[in-house]
Each structure stands twice: as structure tokens, then as C-alpha cells.
Amino acid sequence: MASLKELRSRISSVKSTQKITSAMKMVAAAKLRRAQEQVEASRPYADRMARMLGSLAGSVQGSNGPKLLTGTGKDDVHLLIVATADRGLCGGFNSSIVRDARKHIEQLKSEGKTVKIICVGRKGRDQLRRQHGNDILETVEGVTKPRPTFDKAHAIAQDVLNRFDQGEFDVCTLFYARFKSAISQIVTRQQLVPFDEEHSANLEAAEEEAQAEKQAGFVYDYEPDEEEILKELLPRNLAVQIYKAILENNASENGARMTAMDNATRNAEEMIKDLTLVYNRTRQAEITKELIEIISAKEAM
């Protein structure tokens, strides 16, 4: 049995751990709220853009559209953008994204395709480095510091576009965790290049709306023309999608951290209770023992 002194120091160490976890929980909760607000604020732009793309993509069918829309006609080289957090201590958040990405990588490799990776967030790189270190082209860190901005997403998109223009890849897929609630984040795979109509959020609804508008005798004039607009709209859309992923990820990360830290705080509470019980029992036993010693010593005299 541990001595009283050892028990006391155990208890105080668990207590200070609990203080840290509960502080982290509170910080995560505050950050989560801000992150959620940012997600909300970015939604109108993404929705309107989806609506425009919906009406444009419908009108430029065929193979003469921009490559970002139709693809290169091959799917030999895949570029994966794996968006994770920079920091840990947020439950299974990072691991679950990386797990899905890894599954995808292995599947692609078994089909004999080439895989290239861009990591957004340090934790993703740390976990992928061991197995797929040679495939990682680049790591972007600190996208959420001090807060996510569109410029940072734009820079990543620019890099991806440059690589696409130079023919470095054929298909581009983005991995991130969509925020559903503080306890539930859904790992999401989204194809960015070629532009995938099915997986693009809200696009179907947008297209239907565009269709309905068309039937109502609604035909858009395009200035300058469809292709010119698409040529600008598609790269823009890429940046918007990456920005959205970063924002969703940021909310998910803080949600996951909040839940994880809440659990940790509760576990610490329980541990303190158990340890205090043992401590008191030991103390009581010691006192009883000493009393018996005194009494029996007295009797022997």
C-alpha cells in the first residue's frame, strides 16, 4: 500500500491535470463558437457560387470546357489534400481523417496509381510521414492561426492550380472533417478536380433551381461569355472549397477537443474521488494502528 505522502502528491497532481483539462475545455468551447460563426458567415458565398456554377456547368457541356471542369482525360496521378489540425489533444479527430486518407492512398497504390500528398496541418503530416513520407509534396501549417482567412486558403488553392497547370496530377481529392455537432464530426472526401458535380455541396439543388428558372423562360446573358466566366469561376471555386474545408475542420477540431477535454475532466474527478477514499482509509488505518500500539504498550506495562 502506498504511503500517505505518495497518495497526497498523486491527488494533487491529478487535481492540477484536471485544472488544465477543464481550462482547455473552456477555451475550446469559446473557440468553437467563433469557428461556428465563421462557418455560418462563409455559407452565403459558397451557396451563391454553387448556384452560379450549377447554371454555368449545365450550359458548357462537352469536351471543350476548361480542364478543371472536364479533367485531363486520365486518372493516373492523384493529389490528396489532407486537412487536419496543427495540435493534438482533440480525441480521435486527427486520426480519423488520416485513417480515411490512408485507406484511400492504399487503394490507389494497389491500383498502380501515383499518389501525391499536400498536408494542411502538422498532425496529418506527422502521422502520414512514416508510411508515405516520400509522397508528401508540401505541408502547410498554421492556417487557423490566429484565425482562418480566405487568403490562406487562396494561397493553397493557387499552389494546387499551379501544379495542375504543369500537369503534375490528374485528380485532386480533399480530406477534412465536416462539423455536425460537438460530439459528431464526419470525415469527408471531396473531389475537387475535375469538378465533381455530385459531391459538390448543394449543387444538385442549385442545378434544379437553375433548371426550373430555365423552364420559366429564364436564360442568362453571359458577359464576357460562358467559357471566360468558367475560367475564372472554377479556380475561385477551388479556393472557396478549400476555405470551407479549413473552416469546417476548425470547428470540428474545437468540438472534438471540447468533448475530449470534458471526458478527461470527468475522469480526473473520478480518479480524485477514488484516491481520496484510499487516502482517508489509509490514514484511518494508520491512526487505528497507532492507537492499538499505544494501548497494548500500556497494557504490557
Partner: protein, 136 residues
């Protein structure tokens, strides 16, 4: 007076949403004014100033500088997706001039075609911003 719905959104936020009498947007092929029941169109937007006429068609109630983007016009509404947005009154001439100087240097230092176009775009946006200050 008949009004049309006008929305100005940047990737980071919804900046303006409401009924307006008229709005003038700097389209890629020239400025265009949007009145209620405008013919549907989609256009690219060049860097410039959007003028919002909220109450009537003779008085500008708000000017906003946008660094390019897209506009969608339908009979009932006009939506502008702007790359970057700045309220016209808040433009700081000194800061803009400094930024323009930096951007021009970037343009000279640009190592490849992509950096060059990116820097040229930046220079263009800033020049337009200064021109807007002169004009209004």
C-alpha cells in the same frame, strides 16, 4: 418605388443584403446598372466601386470597393460575389499607396509566369482603388 434585392458577399461574410432602387456594378466589359426586372445575366466583375442607391435613383447611399469577382443578375435580385471588399470611406490612401509600391516591387521580382500574373493582378486592384479615390 419598385425595388430589387441586392446582395454583396465576400468569402468571409455577407456584407450587404437588402432592397435597393438601383445598383451600379463595375462589370468586366463596362459598368452596368441594375434596376428591378433586369434581364438575367452573369458577368465577371473588375476591380472598382459598386454604388448602391437604396432610396431612389438619384442619390448614392453607399459606395463599396471590390477587388473583382462575379455578379449574377435575375429579375428579382442582384448578387455580387466579391474577392475582396472595402467600404469606400475606409480606404486609407497612404496604406494603399504603400501597398501599391510593394506590389510593383513584387511584380518586378516575380520569378515565373504565375507569380507575375498574380502580382500584376494585385497591382491592378490597387491602381483601381487609387483611381476610385480620385473619381469620387
Amino acid at each position: 418605388m419598385e425595388k430589387t434585392q441586392f446582395e454583396l458577399v465576400s468569402p468571409e461574410q455577407l456584407l450587404h443584403s437588402g432592397e435597393v432602387a438601383m445598383v451600379v456594378v463595375p462589370g468586366a466589359e463596362g459598368d452596368f446598372g441594375v434596376l428591378p426586372r433586369h434581364a438575367p445575366m452573369i458577368s465577371t466583375v473588375r476591380p472598382g466601386v459598386i454604388s448602391v442607391y437604396e432610396e431612389n435613383r438619384s442619390m448614392v447611399s453607399r459606395r463599396i470597393f471590390v477587388g473583382g469577382g462575379f455578379a449574377e443578375v435575375t429579375q428579382e435580385r442582384c448578387t455580387v460575389l466579391a474577392d475582396s471588399v472595402e467600404a469606400f470611406d475606409e480606404i486609407d490612401r497612404g496604406a494603399t499607396e504603400r501597398a501599391l509600391k510593394d506590389a510593383r516591387e513584387d511584380l518586378e521580382d516575380a520569378k515565373n509566369e504565375i507569380e507575375k500574373t498574380e502580382a500584376a493582378k494585385q497591382v491592378n486592384v490597387l491602381e483601381e482603388k487609387l483611381r476610385a479615390l480620385e473619381t469620387f
